[in-house]
């Protein structure tokens, strides 16, 4: 039974690691601040979600898995608020959004 749960957790853990790494690469790769907000959302939604689901499969139905469920619930409320606060402050501070058109003009 526990072996089955362990095998069940593998795809979730791999998918979570994949989205987390892709989000991190995106944060490094994107050209400006506003485009970097999107990969950040990748890490916070599916990266965290899949890893937590994978860990819940390992834990089985217990108090630990209920506690694990609280992590995405907290992230669900805090992530949009933090992202909105950062982007709003950046707009108010006068950070200009990067566009494809502008790059073509300058180059």
């Amino acid at each position: 039974m526990s072996l089955v749960a362990e095998y069940l957790s593998w795809p979730f853990l791999i998918a979570g690691s994949f989205f987390l790494l892709v989000g991190a690469i995106g944060v490094l790769r994107m050209p400006d601040f506003f485009t970097r907000l999107h990969p950040a959302g990748l890490v916070d939604t599916l990266g965290a979600g899949f890893i937590v689901v994978g860990l819940m499969c390992e834990a089985g139905f217990s108090q630990t898995s209920l506690k694990l469920l609280l992590i995405p619930v907290f992230l669900f409320f805090t992530t949009p608020t933090a992202n909105h606060a950062v982007s709003h402050a950046a707009l108010a501070d006068g950070v200009k959004p990067w566009t494809r058109q502008k790059e073509n003009d300058s180059s």
Partner: protein
């Protein structure tokens, strides 16, 4: 009438606080249960002093329609996650971001905030400012913007408000 609704909000907040206590504690001995009730009542006392107990603190009048809305939102989040991941891993980085306003047809502040938060949670679109009747969004590609302007999300959230989900 007003007092009765306030009592209902207070009781809803208490059940949420005590539920979280039970999950985090895991002990069901009388001592821990009494401590949990005490802590929840103290937190409610603090919330009453701050005067933040109202329909926005714990929107349980939306619970039924939220249960239908959240799975749909989750599926949209999964789809757009895959889309954005493909764009990030693409060697040419096929993005051309746009920053514009989209209309938001919701009447109450609470549902407008749910709309903005849904936009932010979906990768590919981020809400940067909220005004009455419109939301400023930053989109990774014009396709993301076109998807928002088609208004599926807007209609879904508006249906949440009127309770016709």
């Amino acid at each position: 009438m007003y007092g009765g609704r306030k009592l209902a909000h207070t009781f809803g907040l208490f059940s949420v606080l005590f539920g979280v206590w039970l999950i985090l504690s895991g002990f069901f001995t009388p001592f821990f249960l009494v401590m949990g009730v005490g802590c929840s009542v103290f937190a409610i006392f603090l919330a009453m002093r701050m005067e933040v107990i109202d329909h926005e603190a714990y929107p349980f009048h939306l619970t039924g329609s939220l249960l239908a809305y959240l799975p749909w939102l989750f599926w949209q989040v999964v789809l757009s996650n895959i889309d954005v991941a493909r764009k990030i891993l693409h060697p040419r980085l096929p993005i051309s971001p746009v920053l514009t306003w989209v209309p938001a047809g919701q009447k109450s502040d609470l549902v407008t905030v749910i709309h903005a938060n849904s936009i932010t949670l979906t990768p590919g679109t981020v809400a940067t400012a909220v005004e009455h009747g419109r939301i400023q969004v930053h989109c990774l590609t014009p396709e993301n913007l076109a998807e928002l302007e088609a208004g599926v999300l807007d209609r879904r959230v508006t249906a949440l408000e009127s309770g016709h989900q």
